[in-house]
């Protein structure tokens, strides 16, 4: 199964396909959800949501399993008295932060995270962050961003968080490469090893694991994104003079190769060296995909919008695993970022942006895809109707980027199909 042609040939694929734009009920998380993985990625950071009981309940429920330790996130719950007078809310926030900082001396970075209620009452968290930075700095740096549902969808919370960090970063004239996006440590280390072997460097990572990790931005900075949802971060870096290296996202063997190739070209890595570094992991990835992805060959897939990973993943599933895409829905489509992936997505599927969940369910029922990628709220009801589903959230919580995870990524999609076969339900249908 060597469908994995390196996506370098000039094709337009779905790049110019019409986009079905929908406005209705969105069955997606808000940006606060990103805190669940961001607080793990940055062990010296605390995320303080300024919001309502709903926000606290969402974080607790989205975490799915409760974490058996005091988490490095919490919610300052607005109460009736805070809504009455805004001056109070600022003071109350300062009091709660002082208490938190006293109790958790290990915190070096504190993010004040805006929510729907704090946005609606126009609580100025940027100003609060400034005041708190002055009070608790330099040992604790306080930043703010919005993870509210009226402004951000799911993974856009990470985007807003990273974008908020960019203006604070020191200036540099060095010609450094910055890899942008919160990846599991093991995956990040693999990527850094590949870049190092190609002689690309020095390489920095945003977000840095620790507050004092060296990371600076300047006009000679070049950066690549590892996640397709980082539009605002892309904008913030560009405004600081850094240059974006556009590429398909590093999913699967072909995606990873194209992503690395774009960087290698930018940094003048000789082709022989590139090939020498990538040959073995490419072969491993291809084999792993062929093995794990076999059940996907010839099957159809339908994506409900969730994390903005949909377009790159559809490229992976159609190009590298032999699937056919029926519909690829994404909450937002940043063509500047996912353009290269769209170009390598064969024409045919409906490309949808936004959501009207009822209408989309109608289309899904009509299409009866072999595999439906959707959120947790929809998965069991669709399974009960006989459809096979993949929880989209697992794609964000699991190491899936780069060569060594390419097989795991295919396996994530294959597992629901294998499971249905194992439970012998297909025979009954």
């Amino acid at each position: 199964m060597t469908r994995a042609t390196a996506p370098t040939s000039p094709v337009s694929g779905c790049l110019d396909a019409p986009v079905l734009r929908e406005r209705g009920q969105h069955e997606v998380f808000c940006g606060l959800t990103g805190i669940i993985w961001l607080h793990r990625k940055m062990p010296d950071a605390f995320f303080l949501v300024v919001g309502s009981r709903t926000c606290a309940h969402l974080l607790q429920s989205a975490a799915g399993v409760m974490i058996f330790a005091e988490p490095r996130f919490g919610t300052a719950i607005l109460e009736e008295t805070d809504l009455a007078g805004l001056a109070d809310a600022q003071e109350e926030l300062e009091r709660e932060v002082a208490r938190l900082v006293a109790r958790r001396p290990d915190i070096r970075r504190l993010f004040l995270v805006g929510s729907c209620p704090s946005e609606v009452i126009k609580l100025d968290l940027a100003r609060a962050a400034e005041r708190l930075s002055a009070r608790h700095g330099p040992s604790v740096r306080v930043l703010s961003y919005s993870g509210s549902g009226i402004e951000t969808t799911f993974t856009e919370g990470e985007d807003a968080c990273l974008a908020a960090m960019v203006p604070e970063l020191p200036e540099t004239q060095e010609a450094e490469f910055v890899m942008v996006g919160a990846l599991p440590d093991v995956v990040e280390d693999q990527a850094l090893a590949l870049l190092d072997a190609m002689g690309v460097g020095p390489v920095r990572v945003l977000p840095a694991r620790r507050a004092d990790d060296a990371l600076a931005i300047g006009p000679n900075t070049r950066f690549a994104l590892t996640q397709p949802f980082l539009g605002a971060t892309h904008g913030a870096l560009t405004r600081r003079g850094a240059r974006h290296i556009a590429a398909p996202f590093p999913f699967g063997e072909a995606g990873t190769t194209a992503w690395l190739q774009a960087i290698a070209d930018e940094f003048g890595v000789p082709q022989e060296r590139f090939d020498a570094v990538t040959a073995a992991p490419r072969a491993r990835a291809r084999q792993a995909i062929a093995r794990a992805g076999a059940p996907l060959d010839g099957r159809s897939v339908f994506f409900f919008p969730d994390s903005q990973l949909e377009i790159p993943l559809a490229r992976f599933l159609t190009r590298e695993c032999g699937m056919t895409a029926v519909e690829v829905g994404a909450p937002y489509i940043h063509k500047a970022l996912v353009g290269p992936d769209l170009a390598h997505l064969d024409a045919g599927p409906t490309i949808a942006e936004g959501q009207d969940v009822e209408k989309q369910l109608d289309r899904c029922h009509a299409a009866r895809p072999d595999l439906t990628v959707c959120g947790l709220g929809l998965a069991n009801p669709l399974e009960a109707e006989g459809l096979t589903t993949k929880w989209a959230i697992e794609l964000v919580f699991t190491p899936v980027h780069f060569y060594e995870q390419a097989g795991d990524l295919a396996a994530l999609f294959a597992r629901p199909l294998n499971r249905r076969a194992a439970l012998n339900r297909e025979a009954a249908e």
């Binding site: 209705g24 009920q25 969105h26 069955e27 997606v28 998380f29 808000c30 940006g31 606060l32 959800t33 300024v50 309502s52 009981r53 709903t54 606290a56 309940h57 607790q60 429920s61 989205a62 409760m66 058996f68 330790a69 005091e70 490095r72 996130f73 919490g74 919610t75 300052a76 719950i77 607005l78 109460e79 009736e80 805070d82 809504l83 109350e92 926030l93 009091r95 208490r99 938190l100 958790r104 290990d106 729907c116 209620p117 946005e119 609606v120 509210s148 549902g149 009226i150 402004e151 969808t153 009822e358 959120g375 947790l376 709220g377 929809l378 998965a379 069991n380 009801p381 399974e383 009960a384």
Partner: protein
């Protein structure tokens, strides 16, 4: 503003969702931003429901604010009616929509939808999930229930069970059986499984069984006042409470009390000599008021535990729980602050916790066994098997559930006798748990309270031989022994604890 790490209850609109999702033929239009749809997964994942909750979210965004959020609401209402054709609708706002003051109730009323529309006012910044469920069901009953002729046969409504309730599914079966054994039919069970048409004939029942005051009390009080339907006060959780419940029902229904105790095993299991080791075990109880009150009586009167402390997270139940605590001679802890509960447990050092999933976390961290008696629910609280809390089978289930986390009688003695056995050691925990219990989690963050405590107790020092001796005491009583010894030393102005101090304290506190 209050910092919260974990919460016992969701916002009130989640309570409304628990009512809507439990019912059939009812649709809820919720004015809310997109993220609020997370609540769907509570039902589809935690409770494993095979249908989406009957909820339409208007999904407004920042750019809609100040322009057409009201229109968005109207469009969503119309679309929801056209698609789902519900018998009745409830409409309301989530916390954010409450701030933009679009008045969903007023708007829906003016739209002239061809079904009853019930407006909900749920103050998100004051109240919580249980209030939301109770208020929603009360509003639905008030809007739809009319005086109707009583059923010919004596019948009762079961009031209070909702979606995402702690064992509500199985409690309904058990209570239905208790009533059936007395020749009493169930007229309507609501909200769980009821349609708006069923709500309309609530008045046909001769009395109401108020199963869960948290979610059904307002509706029962209204029905008592306006429809003249009396309701039960006894919650049939525990063997004795079930007997009391049967007596109360017989009285309300004017029938002879009857209870077939042949399937009740709990009293004999508790009396059996192998249960001797349960005697006087100090337990701490925490959860919703109803379950804590029932569990406290079971703990003391039916299992033989000593209640070391109790409390509830729902302030609505503060009064009865305070009264109960006085009866038990302990202080009631009324709080929804998880850290306060943790501190209380740490200072009381009970041998067992009867709590919620939150206390299970606390217990895991402190190395104290915990059995779950109350919501908030976790996927584990929806077992595939029949597993009620109420009635006779409920009493059996509770006995098994509570005993399971403990180290059993003879094993406890063996731990006392051979403390350094490589397999039978403290950290291994109860042998029937497959080694999953370890007193302290690896990778735990630095204890935030530790410096304060050490400062307070700074005067008392453990000498190394006493400390070694302390380690020989099994983990499930070690906390208590340590605390007692320190108190004993402090009271006598002893600043250094040696082995003698340890054993003098043991003799002093011996029961």
């Amino acid at each position: 503003m209050k910092l919260t790490l974990w919460t016992y209850e969701g916002p009130p609109h989640v309570g409304a969702m628990r009512v809507a999702t439990a019912m059939k033929g009812l649709h809820y239009v919720l004015h809310a931003p997109q993220g609020d749809t997370y609540a769907d997964l509570l039902f589809t994942m935690i409770e494993r429901r095979d249908h989406r909750p009957p909820v339409t979210y208007t999904t407004f965004q920042a750019r809609d604010l100040g322009s057409d959020t009201a229109n968005l609401f109207k469009t969503a209402c119309e679309a929801a009616y056209d698609r789902f054709k519900p018998e009745a609708m409830i409409v309301g706002a989530s916390c954010t929509a409450e701030l933009i003051q679009d008045d969903p109730g007023g708007m829906a009323e003016q739209m002239g939808l061809p079904c009853p529309v019930i407006a909900l006012e749920l103050p998100s910044y004051q109240r919580k999930e249980n209030f939301g469920a109770d208020e929603t069901f009360y509003r639905i009953a008030r809007a739809l229930a009319k005086p109707v002729e009583k059923t010919a046969r004596v019948s009762a409504n079961l009031i209070g069970p909702t979606a995402l309730g702690f064992r509500h599914r199985d409690d309904i079966t058990e209570v239905t059986r208790l009533l059936d054994d007395m020749g009493i039919a169930v007229n309507v069970c609501a909200p769980y499984g009821a349609t708006p048409a069923d709500i309309a004939r609530l008045g046909a029942a001769h009395f109401n069984v108020l199963m869960y005051p948290e979610t059904g009390e307002s509706a029962c009080r209204w029905m008592a006042r306006d429809l003249g339907i009396p309701h039960t006060r006894t919650i049939p959780i525990g063997a004795q409470a079930t007997r009391d419940f049967v007596a109360e029902v017989a009285d309300l229904a004017g029938v002879a009390p009857y209870l077939d105790e042949s399937r009740l095993r709990q009293p004999w299991y508790a009396a059996s000599v192998d249960s001797t080791y349960l005697t006087g075990k100090r337990v701490f109880l925490f959860g919703d008021g109803t379950h804590v009150a029932a569990a406290a009586r079971i703990a003391r009167d039916e299992i033989g535990f000593e209640v070391a402390g109790l409390g509830c997270y729902n302030r609505e139940m503060a009064r009865p729980i305070r009264a109960l605590a006085r009866e038990f001679g302990v202080e009631a802890l009324i709080t929804d602050d998880y850290l306060e509960v943790e501190a209380a447990i740490e200072s009381l050092a009970p041998e067992m916790i009867l709590g919620t999933q939150m206390e299970r976390m606390i217990g895991k961290r402190l190395g104290i066994p915990c059995a779950v008696i109350s919501a908030p629910v976790h996927v584990q609280d929806f077992p595939a098997r029949y597993s009620p809390q109420m009635g006779l089978e409920g009493a059996n289930v509770i006995f098994d559930t509570w005993v399971h986390p403990l180290v059993m009688g003879l094993e406890e003695h063996l731990l006392h006798m051979f403390r350094e056995d490589p397999e039978f050691h403290d950290a291994a925990g109860a042998s029937h748990h497959g080694g999953a219990h370890v007193a302290n989690d690896a990778g735990e963050p630095p204890r935030r309270d530790a410096p304060d405590q050490e400062k307070q107790q700074g005067a008392v020092i453990w000498l190394s031989d006493a400390e070694r001796e302390l380690k020989k005491i099994p983990f499930f009583v070690r906390g208590k022994a340590k605390r007692n010894t320190e108190t004993f030393a402090a009271e006598r102005g002893v600043t250094q604890i040696d082995i003698d101090t340890l054993y003098e304290a043991k003799a002093h506190y011996a029961r």
